[in-house]
Amino acid sequence: MAELTYRDAVIRGIAQEMERDPDVVFLGEDVAKAGGVFKATVGLYERFGPLRVRDTPISEQAILGAAMGAAMTGLKPIAEIMFSDFIAVCFDYIANEIPKSRYMSNGQIKCPLVVRTGNGAGSRFGAQHSQSVENWCMMIPGLKVVAPSNPRDVIGLLAASVRDPDPVIFFEHKSLYPTKGEVPDGEIVDRLGTARIVRPGKDATILALALMVPRALEAAERLKSEHGIDCEVVDVRSLVPLDTQTILGSVARTHRLFTVEENPRLCGWGAEIVSIVADEAFYDLDGPPVRITTPHIPLPAADTLEDIVLPTPQRIAETVRRALNS
């Protein structure tokens, strides 16, 4: 066991997989010699050399296209898209090429690759560098979508993603990079499609992802200590595959559902899960399922404003309390 930052867990996760499989290669902007703009790839270039860890031009389409072509023909590339907002400039690969080729080719083409990207708000970077865009990917058939909330999951889920035979979009939360957590020694390999109950509880289910997990946990503690409300907090961890069993199981026990999303409100993963639960577990629900989200607006840059829009432990707790009391 060692304490590791989320940032260093990314480095260790990539290194673990590159060490194991010479077909794992890594490319992106400023990732090699400079170690990445978030310093989440420091040392990989020195360790694995210039053939396996490569700096690219500012050409996101070329980055993802090249990752796809390499994956189709036998490599297992990890591609970095620096900020997840930039997925918009290479979205054709995310929406039309990478996820559809296997299907269109009747199984002939395979795309085992990972796109790592810095997601989420909290850095006061404004509307084009702070978005949570996991729903841009969840809505596309053929992708897998993962978003770890802690250093251990970073390593385990990254390993699972690299070893997965399907394309995985791996969302690292920028605000989590400096956070720390205990990580076991040795190889860590997790499983995609498994949510984790991070706090058991009986009064309500709170689903969260990435940065929202610690916030939901804090809200749950407050609800317990201040109002005696006992919430179950589930770290969704992967949106595709989605662990509906764990989610439906939790709602079957608590009878109330709350989702906590950082992405803007419309058509987020919260809407998807609420719809699944409303359809399949309608009679389990004792009250309306409630989504707690960032309002449906572009993100403001100012610290004071940004702090208001993201779901806070206080807003989560308040929303749950009010819903359960009504």
Binding site: V25, L51, R52, R54, T56, P57, S59, E60, Q61, A62, I63, L64, G65, A66, A67, M68, G69, A70, A71, M72, T73, G74, L75, P77, D92, Y93, N96, E97, S101, R102, Y103, M104, S105, N106, G107, Q108, I109, K110, P112, P141, G142, K144, D164, P165, D166, G193, V240, P241, L242, D243, T244, Q245, I276
Partner: protein, 342 residues
């Protein structure tokens, strides 16, 4: 028309650098493409070809020449106008027509359709229907070759109109900087869908006039002469295999039919089609063979065999069932299924 005269035959005759066997192969390929595509058009008129289809009638020499110069293991990346390149790699007419007719015997059992022909076992790594998308993808395949020390070349075909989209630029720069073994082939047939390329492009030669932007040689060739195409391809592949990086080749050619099955091509200036038909690649090549001493009989046999193959394929496709419903949800993910949840 500008042609790269340096690439014109040095010796001429059946025993030159190309040789009789290759020439007959290229002739056969062009005829097969021609016959198969004309058949596709007839079948469309009978409402047996569904969806869209984009024919390469008139552009066969490009497909034949580039394919003939390939080694097994070399990879082709095509567009929606990819029937010709797929056939040129030896994929059967039946599988191609079957896909156009959306039958179970099609190359992808009807799941992909005419715009996405893929035959990995023949090196056809897919046909891409979003303009420009496959240029970066071909770079990736070439990167794999470079990384693994393989000697195969990735060859990427696209049209003149494709040179104005962002992915073209990103791929060309990327390939050049990484010195990737990829060959970019622009088939300049003068038109996008219906708009003349000259109306929307800042330079007369949409590909070649951009080569210098990527530190590459300016190459323009007569795309209707399979010999010229073949020799150009050979040289580019050799360069790629030698680790000397990518090439960008602009082939001047012309499509005889409309852009897609829906297009009567009324936008052509009068006489343009007729002028190009005088330079029909198959006509040119038939004359070349005769001139080099191949007998009329051998040529007629190739023509007849091609027609037979297309006839047989047509019948097989007509007899083939539609794809079964159970493939609908297959192969979304690697486990063979489509489950996004447990």
């Amino acid at each position: 028309m500008a042609t790269a005269d340096a690439r014109a035959p040095v010796q001429t005759g059946l025993n030159d650098d190309i040789g009789e066997k290759k020439r007959l192969e290229m002739y056969r390929t062009q005829v097969i493409i021609r016959e198969a595509e004309q058949r596709a058009y007839d079948l469309f008129l009978q409402n047996l070809v569904k969806g869209t289809s984009h024919l390469s009638l008139g552009q066969e020499a490009v497909a034949a020449g580039f394919a003939a110069a390939m080694e097994p293991g070399d990879l082709s990346f095509c567009t929606y106008r990819g029937h010709a390149h797929t056939l040129a790699r030896g994929v059967s007419v039946e599988k191609v027509l079957g896909e156009l007719m959306q039958r179970d015997n099609g190359l992808m059992r009807g799941k992909g359709g005419s715009m996405h022909l893929t035959a990995v076992d023949h090196g056809v790594m897919g046909s891409y229907a979003i303009i420009g998308a496959h240029l970066p993808i071909a770079c990736g395949a070439a990167w794999r070759a470079q990384y693994k020390g393989h000697t195969d070349v990735s060859v990427c075909f696209f049209g003149d109109g494709t040179t104005n989209i962002g992915a073209f630029h990103e791929a060309l720069n990327f390939a050049s900087v990484w010195k990737l073994p990829v060959v970019f082939v622009c088939e300049n047939n003068l038109y996008m869908e219906y708009t003349p390329i000259a109306d929307v492009t800042a330079v007369p030669h949409p590909a070649a006039d951009r080569a210098a932007s990527y530190g590459l040689e300016r190459i323009i060739i007569d795309g209707n002469d399979a010999d010229i195409v073949y020799r150009t391809a050979k040289a580019a592949y050799a360069k790629a295999r030698a680790g000397k990086g990518p090439s960008l080749i602009e082939c001047l050619t012309y499509r005889h039919s409309g852009h897609s099955r829906a297009d009567p091509a009324k936008y052509r200036p009068e006489g343009e089609l007729e002028r190009w038909k005088l330079r029909d690649p198959i006509k040119i090549y038939r004359e070349r063979l005769l001139q080099f001493g191949v007998s009329e009989r051998i040529i007629a046999e190739i023509d007849a065999a091609a027609r037979r193959e297309v006839d047989v394929a047509t019948e097989a496709c007509k007899a083939a069932p539609p794809p079964p419903a159970d493939i609908l949800t297959a192969d979304v993910y690697a486990d063979g299924g489509w489950a996004w949840r447990n």
